[in-house]
Amino acid sequence: MKRLAHIIVALLLSLAAPLAVAQEATEVQKGKIELSEPAGKNKDAPGGQPLSVQVKKRAAQEKGPQVVADLSTHTVAIRADFAGTRVLLFGAIVGSREEGKPMPDLIVVVRGPSRTFKLHRKKRIGPIWINSDERIFRAAPGYYALLSSRPLEEIAPLERLQKRGIGFEALKSHLLASGEGFKALKEAEEYAEAFVRLMKKKGLFRTNEHGVQFTGRYLFRATFDLPANVPLGEYEADVYLWRDGRLLGKFSSALEIEKRGFERFVYEMAHERPLLYGIAAVIIAIAAGFAAAAVFRKD
């Protein structure tokens, strides 16, 4: 890939660590505005990360190890030839001498824009299967990639990860909190399971237990794939640094996926000037019809 470049930049970035903290704070605020926070006890579910920010700031004061990272690109442009892409996240552990210490663990969570999803469950009515029940998840990410340097359960106890909003279990409990129309908890759990299953099938939810690789003791890299059906919008890539089951630091960077060029023009026309768009579509069709009739005219 042409985008696999400049890992050294990560080292330079380490100089900008204080800046990174500031950037992260704004990122979190942004996230809060965009996500409709579910009314419930799951304050640490994906979307609300105040706890991890505190941890991060404390880590900075103690001059413990920190993590900085960047993405190979901050905007993914969807053009006519877009068939999915791969983004590289690279970074470094800074602020401490790592030699002699146990190897740290890294978890990367890439989260797409949150939106409402409606799910149907089919039921048999007479001979045919029809969509009978409809349930809603008010706020669910349209993309979720979970990468780690080793299996999650080896990094930290699952409940601790869940508390930080990391992993599919945390995602599910977040889903349950934003659910609508559910009659029982069991039903909500079934729908949450189905949601994750369907999203994995579409390639929009992905997981890789060995997706974060270390180069030596300080540098690391991870790649995640954005499939062709990736939703548009603001993405956030969070890197969590763990050691001995404790969270040491976190770093966030943003990614935007947007339509560009002709694709963008068509999309905007269709949604902002639908009548003009419809007429244009018809004129194209009529012109194509006339052209074909003229070309193939039998005289």
């Binding site: 969807i78 053009r79 006519a80 030839d81 877009f82 068939a83 999915g84 999803f117 409606k118 799910l119 149907h120 469950r121 089919k122 039921k123 048999r124 001979p127 045919i128 299967w129 029809i130 969509n131 409809e134 729908y191 189905a194 949601f195 299953r197 369907l198 579409k202 062709a228 059906n229 939703p231 339509k259 002709f262 694709e263 963008r264 068509v266 999309y267 269709a270 949604h271 639908p274 009548l275 768009y277 419809g278 007429i279 244009a280 579509a281 018809v282 194209i284 069709a285 009529i286 194509a288 019809g289 006339f290 052209a291 074909a292 009739a293 070309v295 193939f296 005219r297 039998k298």
Partner: protein, 308 residues
């Protein structure tokens, strides 16, 4: 080579789309049907959201009917007066259909209704077409190559007893305008709900119900389909924003060429045998769609609204 479709929001192989357009265009040129009833389910099968498939098909059919309609018009095979009467019905049907799609999308039953309509229509049309063409083949054998014309002069049905009669000189008919308007409404509804031109309904209806002479049937139906699909495209674009011009352009460029080749090939080949084949194809798709509705699905859950 992949191409990203801006409204469908998926990436599809360009050659696959061109191939589909060409083959369906060829068949439609050969049989004088719009081809939408083959194309729409195929588009859904390759992952285009149903609502986008239906609306975009309407746009593509507009192109192929203008092209086919013009060719027929030059040969004098269009009964414009009858076409306009059919169009009145078509406009009403299209308006109702687009509203219905909007409503069904809101309650999450649009897929089911589209599929059920397909199964019903395809089974009726496929069976009728099959019986008709097999009978025609038999007659042809008995008569030693002289097929009797479909229209028997002087024969009357209930259609001819209705009020509001009008004279259609080109079709040599003097009939009530109620049946053509009714047929037009049905076809307009189908255009909006199923993403089809409705030729496979209108052509038999014109021959057997209205008793129009066969030489003006295809041209007149293309005339009506052209205008109805133009209207349907605009309505879908405004109401649902589901018309993908990039997809439509790819499909129409290959379908228009396929249709012209199909029309030429079709003129040289034995029509009845081909019709048996088309009937079997229609029945095959019908069984496939029907099976999908009754067999136990692997996944009981699905996303609403095409799932993206």
């Amino acid at each position: 080579m992949s191409i990203y479709l801006p409204i469908a929001e998926i990436s599809v192989n360009l050659y696959l789309l061109l191939g589909l357009g060409g083959i369906v265009g060829f068949l439609s040129g050969m049989f004088g049907v719009g081809g939408g009833f083959l194309m729409t389910p195929l588009l859904m099968m390759i992952g285009i959201p149903p609502a986008v498939a239906v609306a975009t098909e309407a746009n593509q059919i507009a192109a192929s009917s203008v092209s086919g309609g013009l060719a027929q018009y030059r040969r004098g095979n269009v009964d414009v007066k009858m076409g306009l009467i059919l169009l009145i019905g078509g406009v009403i049907g299209s308006f109702l259909g687009v509203q219905l799609v909007k409503l069904l999308r809101e309650i999450g039953q649009v897929d089911l209704v589209i599929k059920l309509t397909y199964v019903t229509m395809l089974s009726i049309i496929g069976t009728m077409m099959f019986i008709e063409s097999v009978n025609a083949l038999r007659k042809k054998k008995k008569a030693g190559g002289k097929a009797s014309p479909a229209r028997k002069a002087g024969s009357h049905s209930w259609v001819h007893g209705l009020p509001f009669r009008m004279r259609f000189p080109r079709s040599k008919l003097y009939i009530s305008i109620i049946p053509p308007i009714g047929v037009g409404i049905l076809v307009g509804l189908l255009a909006a709900i199923m993403g089809v031109g409705g030729g496979f309904i209108m052509v038999p209806a014109m021959i057997y119900l209205l008793r129009m002479p066969t030489n003006v049937v295809v041209g007149t139906s293309l005339f009506q389909i052209g205008f109805v699909t133009i209207l349907t495209t605009i309505l879908h674009a405004v109401q649902n924003q589901t018309v993908d011009v990039v997809l439509a352009l790819i499909l129409m460029s290959s379908a228009v060429i396929g249709a012209q080749i199909g029309a030429r090939v079709g003129a040289k080949l034995p029509g009845e045998q081909l019709r048996v084949l088309l009937a079997l194809m229609v029945l095959g798709m019908c069984i496939k769609l029907g099976w999908g509705l009754v067999s136990t699905p692997d996944e009981l859950f699905s996303f609403a609204g095409g799932g993206h």
